[in-house]
Symmetry: C2
DNA sequence: TTGGATATACGAAACTCTTCGTATATTTAC
DNA sequence: GTAAATATACGAAGAGTTTCGTATATCCAA
């Protein structure tokens, strides 16, 4: 099972596909252009490259192709988090968690959610 | 305050400097070469580029320059984690934590450490 | 039916990253 | 003192990323 390694632009496009579901190039471009000033053919090119890389699949049965992410968001997040932990934290998920929680203030309800997960993890063991 | 954006190779060199302290190019290359087959001048070039980017500082008073990381490990980790959370998790540190803990098994003592941090965070608020 | 809007494909320029070779200076060792 | 070892600097090739322009096909509307 190969792990994905999207560029920053590719990740942005994947996020749009994950959030909105299947999209045409035009739809992705509209979303993209609400943030950044980037041409239509630039997005088209990105998505063509992503297609050759296997990051997206597309339905070509109509003139206007419809794209979808070829990886689920959950799997992609797993792979990217794993790599991030390996690269920066020598494989220690705990160090990442400490750093993340130390720098961002989480609401009490979020903290409760994490505490719940901690409990589940301990019980499962 | 500008945020750093090291490439993968640059990050590996920073990690060596953080772990071993100040180093010559030769020392970094030795460490690097224990993993990967890469030439001396390649590492030299990386470190020269990192110097122009401000990622490292160097003492040039001797012929053999001595390099040090220009940014502390803690600050670098903060910045990189923040960017990672922004790029992949829409700014939610909690989502990152859930994903990280869900995929990696942490020991009980590690879970206890995280629980302690959670308590501190709640009390501090 | 013809012209404008909309699609894809392709090519290429500008940048960055990775990788080394080579030129040159300095130190060391015989 | 000269040759080998060790440094830095520089240039450049090759790959990948970002960005569009242009060519070409297709659909729709007057």
């Amino acid at each position: 099972m190969k792990t994905i390694k999207p560029t920053e632009s590719e990740l942005e496009i994947l996020k749009i596909l994950w959030e909105r579901g299947d999209c045409t190039v035009r739809q992705v471009h509209e979303q993209f252009a609400s943030d950044k000033d980037v041409g239509y053919t630039t997005i088209l090119k990105f998505m063509q490259i992503m297609h050759t890389k296997g990051l997206v699949a597309r339905d070509e049965s109509n003139k206007t192709h419809v794209y979808r992410a070829a990886v689920s968001r959950d799997v992609a997040e797993q792979q990217l988090v794993n790599k991030f932990i390996k690269d920066l934290f020598d494989g220690s998920a705990t160090r990442l968690v400490m750093q993340a929680l130390g720098n961002h203030r989480a609401s009490n309800s979020e903290l409760a959610k994490i505490r719940q997960l901690l409990n589940d993890l301990e019980n499962k063991k």
